[in-house]
């Protein structure tokens, strides 16, 4: 057998109270696309951080091409040929594309030369990108290209990609895969982290599954079904969300000719959006982030002002009613940004439960807060949505992303909304928890609530929504019944691949 490119053996890393990696052994071959699978908190991030030199393992060794490899910092890792594309982009909004790329390089050439090389590489791999643009103005897909090109310019031997497709349209995903396969042919190994098992089956040569920090098995994704992989990750069998048959009832939420400016300089204005959602119906709104999703949620929740008569609930105008009063009526919303928007990071779960549940759960009376009741409500969310935390007194910040997501969604679902608007319900949540959240949303609809689900995960929208519409550049396509739509049509509804083209070298 040939020497693997990178061999990890017995890597262990413990944090206070939790063992993130427990004796992990893993080989990645030259030109191999290797998937790393696991639930939230299974230790995937810690493992790649060790490889990238951001975290030092407590014990265990790494070898690259048979020689010892122990990067002291990311710089050393990059020097050894390891590149990483982060899940949360490590980009600088106020700087230009070229400046961002220069920051990730050891010895960047002068700016003019660098700009030429960026153009060359971006054309070679079919990732068009102008070096002079300010990163804050780019779409999520374009930002990812910046990260990828930053890595490619350094001729990496191993490219680590953390959830690269979560922000891309199907066409963009195809082009990314073409790029990755091309890299593989050139001998670059790729360590690929994703929750999307079908993608892994389509792309990866091998997969390693982590559970509770341990390597619990490997498989060849092509020969393994997505369900089997998911069950290896969870360690038990998995339930598929099922929608109960139901008829659409009266119109609950209706939006007519909605136009609204974005409050943020980098945001997207909404342009003439119209749709209605009936009781018991789930409307899925797809689209790449930054096309007006946050603004739409803001208008529906009442955070952003809109013109008279543009949004109405059971026929009554909502436009002049603020978020808290809308909650009282039964119109609830769960925004995408968990820390800082959906939850106050430094406040406890009880306090966070109080913040949105006050009105509907009767947690306050004549201005005085009933903390006992609020704690009970928080505990109910924790049990019913399997939020893993020591208790409701813990700060929201201390929860992992997936766990906090379960809490935030659970908090709204348990308030028995009549209309619920959710942005990215399962973003960063593992397969089992995502299935639970989707099931809860479907149950809610079956109970007669009208749901608007805004998501970038098209598989999710296809699975749970009755009708689908695409949000592109602030405009909403006409909603179509989900049954009968295929990926191709959806891609076209989403406005194509945003100027991407397939690699042609």
């Amino acid at each position: 057998m040939t020497t693997p490119l990178l061999a990890l053996s017995g890597l262990t890393k413990a944090y206070p109270g939790v063992i993130a990696n427990d004796d992990v052994t893993l080989d990645i071959g030259v030109g191999e696309i290797h998937a790393l699978l696991g639930e939230n908190g299974a230790g995937k991030s810690t493992l790649v951080k060790i490889i990238y030199g951001l975290v030092k393992p407590d014990s265990g060794v790494m070898q690259m091409h048979g020689t010892a490899f122990a990067p002291v910092d990311p710089r050393a890792a990059r020097g050894a040929g390891v590149g990483m594309v982060f899940q949360h982009f490590s980009l600088f909004d106020a700087l230009s594309v070229a400046e961002n790329i220069a920051l990730g390089m050891e010895a960047p050439p002068p700016m003019a030369t660098l700009a030429t090389r960026i153009r060359e590489v971006s054309e070679t791999y079919g990732l068009p990108l102008s070096p002079d643009r300010t990163v804050g103005d780019l779409s999520a897909g374009e930002r990812q290209r910046v990260e990828i090109i930053r890595c490619l310019l350094q001729d990496p031997k191993l490219l680590i990609m953390d959830e690269p497709t979560s922000v891309l349209t199907p066409q963009e995903v195809d082009i990314l895969f073409e790029t990755l396969r091309k890299l593989k042919e050139e001998g670059t190994a790729i360590l690929y982290i994703s929750h999307k098992l079908e993608e892994i089956r389509a792309l990866c040569d091998a997969a390693t599954i982590l559970r509770g920090g341990k390597n619990v098995g490997t498989c060849v994704p092509r020969d393994t079904s997505a369900r089997e992989m998911a069950e290896m990750m969870v360690g038990s069998t998995l339930a598929t969300p099922k929608a109960a048959a139901h008829d659409a009832g009266e119109v609950m939420l209706s939006v007519t000719g909605l136009s609204a400016a974005s409050p943020s300089a980098f945001g997207m204005a909404l342009k003439d959006i119209s749709f209605e959602v009936r009781a018991g119906e789930v409307l899925g709104i797809g689209g790449v982030a930054g096309n007006g999703q946050d603004e739409l949620l803001g208008v529906l929740s009442g955070e952003l002002p809109c013109g008279n008569g543009m949004v109405s609930f059971k026929g009554g105008d909502l436009s002049t009613i603020g978020p808290e009063a809308r909650r009282g009526l039964g119109v609830l919303a769960a925004p995408e940004e968990r820390l800082g928007h959906a939850a106050a990071p430094d406040m406890s779960l009880t306090e966070n439960a109080m913040l949105t549940g006050m009105t509907r759960e009767g947690l306050a009376r004549s201005g005085m807060l009933n903390w006992t009741k609020a704690r009970g409500f928080a505990e109910r969310i924790i049990t019913e949505f399997d939020v893993r935390t020591p208790g409701p007194h813990n700060a929201a910040r201390s929860l992992s992303g997936g766990n906090l997501q379960k809490f935030v969604i659970g908090r709204e679902v348990l308030q028995r909304p009549e209309v619920l608007v959710v942005n990215q319900p399962t973003w960063g949540v593992d397969a089992a928890a995502a299935a639970d959240i989707r099931q809860a949303l479907l149950d809610l609809a079956a109970g007669g609530a009208a749901l608007v689900i805004i998501s970038q995960d098209l598989d999710e929208l296809m699975e749970i929504s009755d009708r689908f519409a695409a949000l592109n550049e602030g405009r909403l396509s006409a909603p179509k019944p989900t049954s009968g739509l295929n990926v191709e049509q959806i891609g076209l509804m989403l406005g194509g691949a945003h100027g991407m083209e397939v690699a042609h070298v």
């Binding site: 993130a20 490590s90 600088f92 106020a94 300089a265």
Partner: protein, 306 residues
Amino acid sequence: MDLSAINPILLIAAMIAAATPILLAAIGELVVERAGVLNLGVEGMMITGAVCGFIIAVNTGSPTVGFIAAAIGGAVLSLLFAFLTQVALANQVASGLALTLFGLGLSALMGQSYVGIKPPRTEATPLGPLADIPVIGPIFFGHDLVVYIGLVIVAGTWATLKFSRAGLILRAVGENHDAAHALGYKVKRIRTAAIMFGGACAGLGGAYISLIRVPQWTEGMTAGVGWIALALVVFASWKPWRVLLGAYLFGGITQLQLNLQGAGVAIPVEYLAMSPYIVTIIVLVILSSDKSRAPGSLGRTFHVSG
């Protein structure tokens, strides 16, 4: 009133000199803020620089050594701020306010036996025949070295931030410290260096007041210049040349209104005294109406997380 008593050439030369302390303090703070740190202790570092420079200049008889001591004094005091905010992860606003109060008290203590003494005179820079050119000579070439150093620092800061890799890294740290850390840059080390640069500049600015502008030592003699420098950085949208413009505008109008007061213009003194603040703010607010914005991580504590 007698406007003919005002000599325009001397007035413009004095405007440039009046602007120098603010300019020095502001350009230092600009670098600190571009690195993502909000140091409200400018006033404290200035007054500490003023007293250090004064004491050393009096004892050595050399203003040059005095200025070097002032820069060191300001930088050493800023190290205290760096320790509090970068190592102990204390709140930057509170630490900066404390630094100002501490600097004011410390300088008063250090300067007790120096009240009423005259410092050695700082000579104009010998620029030879340039200074003899009519009009332009006295305006631009008759100044002491520190005025030119201030201009060189502004130009150097601008060029470094815009063209050099060090400047790019500094801006990156100020823009998004988590991303900079993920790329392997030493956020705390870079910020500490920026804070010390800011301290040294503030110290120089303070010594310019005690050794050249006034020149003598009085408690609290910086009289709020540090705060003006702080405001200037914000109104200048964190851009070096706008800081220069703002400082010259402010220093210039301060000098002009003093001259007008002296000439007995029939405008109440209070209006004249507030004019520099109003004009500077109006001009810089108009300039900053473009889309420039504060560094993304400004004032946020950087905490390494696993």
